[in-house]
């Protein structure tokens, strides 16, 4: 009974699970994708390791001069893959949207921006399927959460029906045995990863709401916030900011200039020291007054029980503290997860006497996700239009689903289509992007994928 339930629930939720897992894996490299989708920045970008304080000084001076009418200015130091400063500026009464989109890139001169949603669009598919807000967003989030419960059920039922014998070998007898062993070995390990992510994902969606149910503190909702008197002409002493930053001796941080309080803060945005105990959150923001005297150093905040769980789930799921090493390993886990779900669908097809529908569902999950993402990148490079790249994504996604069902018997055509799109992406990169670390890594990945498709194509012919 449980075996049948595992099999049938698996077949009918796998398609969406694959989509969620694919875009979840992609979002581990959201910063790199955001940079990759800003081809106008690539020319001025070079790979640097250490922070250049002279360039930081120039960036602060530029920001204070250009955005002197803004109450808050923040300057984010370059990531490990480039030497470009990100300047964010907003006022006390700016909307959330303005706070997020008022961004300029700087590298000894103001750099032009590409009009794109970048990785935000791909990430939004992971947790709400469509980049929408309002009531529908809650509905889609609920759907994703229900599927996350499905993952948890699939893992637990899988453990119960597993024969507890073989879990470190994949036999090479025949295709069915291969797929079955792969399902057990990979499912046992990657299922745990999926289970934790599904559980933390549901927590992220609903723990805040649960906390609201148990707290009746209406005083927190402050209405009619009074605008403070802000001296717009106030200018911070750049030397003081630089000396404070030098004393901290960190590679990546965000400096925020607050004109309303005449103080500046330095936040360590990649600090790995997140939670020292279960209910303690570390806030790595150092606040200085205008004369660079330290007002507040590392702050430990005590959390309530639900907030503690929320914080743990947030850190597990979003890994905001992750460096390249951790992101890469988690990305590998994500890729294996996608492969696992894809192979699970092929196993279902094999078990049901090569049932074409299940095979088509597997193809209709993998190829649309891959092709649409690649086309999203290609349109970004070619047209640099925020709307057109999203429309292209949806069109290719739907067309790929149709092609997957039409050519379920002739997989080599699907291989060729994906290979062609990958090839176009590499060519477009060579023409429209200056080569830098991120672009080269993306292109190497594309070339590896072309090779894998080619090898599969050759294997199919034999």
């Amino acid at each position: 009974m449980l075996r049948k339930l595992h099999s049938y629930i698996g077949i009918y939720v796998c398609w969406l699970l694959f989509v969620i897992a694919f875009f979840g894996s992609v979002s581990y490299f959201r910063n790199e994708i955001n940079f990759y989708m800003q081809p106008t920045l690539h020319e001025k970008s070079k790979f640097t390791n250490a922070i250049d304080y002279n360039e930081l000084k120039n960036a602060i001076n530029f920001a204070q001069d250009k955005y002197k009418n803004y109450d808050f200015i923040s300057i984010k130091t370059p990531s490990y893959f480039n030497n470009i400063y990100e300047i964010n500026f907003y006022n006390f009464n700016s909307s959330k949207g303005e706070r997020k989109t008022n961004i300029t890139y700087y590298n000894n001169e103001e750099l032009p921006k590409t009009n794109t949603l970048g990785a935000k669009f791909l990430t939004s598919i992971h947790y709400k399927l469509l980049p929408i807000n309002g009531g529908l967003k809650d509905v889609f989030e609920a759907i994703v959460s229900i599927f996350a419960i499905g993952i948890m059920f699939l893992y637990l039922s899988g453990i119960f029906i597993w024969n507890k014998k073989n879990f470190n070998k994949i036999n090479t007898k025949n295709e069915l045995v291969k797929l079955f062993d792969f399902h057990i070995v990979v499912g046992l390990f990657i299922g745990a990863f999926l289970f934790i992510l599904a559980f933390s994902g549901i927590g992220l969606n609903y723990l805040k709401d649960i906390e609201k149910l148990f707290t009746n503190d209406t005083n927190k909702q402050v209405k009619n916030i009074k605008m403070p008197d802000i001296d717009k002409d106030f200018v911070f002493n750049t030397e003081n900011i630089i000396s404070a930053a030098k004393d901290l001796n960190k590679d990546e941080f965000i400096i925020t200039l607050n004109k309303s309080k005449k103080e500046f803060s330095i936040a360590l945005n990649k600090s790995k020291d997140i939670m020292t105990t279960f209910n303690t959150k570390n806030n790595h923001t150092y606040v200085f007054d205008n004369e660079a005297n330290l007002k507040q150093s590392l702050k430990e905040t005590k959390l309530s029980l639900i907030s503690s769980f929320y914080e743990i789930f947030f850190n597990i799921h979003r890994v905001p503290f992750a460096d390249f090493k951790l992101n890469f390993i988690l990305f590998l886990c994500g890729i294996v997860t996608c492969l696992f779900i894809y192979k699970a669908m092929l196993l279902a097809s094999k078990k049901h006497k090569d049932k074409l529908l299940y095979k088509a569902i597997a193809y209709a999950a993998f190829y649309p996700c891959l092709n649409a993402t690649l086309v999203y990148f290609i349109f970004n490079k070619l047209l640099q239009n925020i709307n057109l790249e999203q429309i292209a994504f949806y069109i290719v996604f739907i067309v790929s689903i149709i092609l997957s069902f039409i050519f379920a018997k002739k997989e080599k055509i699907l291989y060729l289509v994906s290979m062609f799109i990958l090839f176009i992406l590499v060519v477009v990169d060579l023409v429209f992007s200056s080569l830098n670390l991120v672009v080269i890594c993306f292109d190497i990945t594309a070339l590896i994928m072309i090779c894998i498709f080619y090898l599969n194509l050759k294997k199919g012919k034999q």
Partner: protein, 72 residues
């Protein structure tokens, strides 16, 4: 880095069927977590690398066996 090396060796041993030895290494790696700074970060690194290394090496052994069978 120590965690990654321990997990890597443990995963290789696991794929070569030395299950108990690999389990001991995984446990040593886990215990070493308690003596390190940034426990949360290292815990994430431990679990994710442990899971993915095991799969990768089991898959490599499978590919090796498959190619050996084809040659034979």
């Amino acid at each position: 880095m120590i965690i990654l090396i321990f997990n890597l060796v443990a995963a290789i041993l696991f794929s070569l069927d030395y299950k108990k030895t690999s389990l001991v290494l995984f446990i040593i790696s886990f215990i070493s977590l308690f003596f390190m700074e940034n426990k949360f970060y290292n815990l994430m690194l431990y679990f994710s690398s442990g899971l993915v290394f095991n799969i990768i090496f089991v898959f490599i052994v499978f590919l090796y066996n498959q190619s050996k069978n084809k040659i034979c």
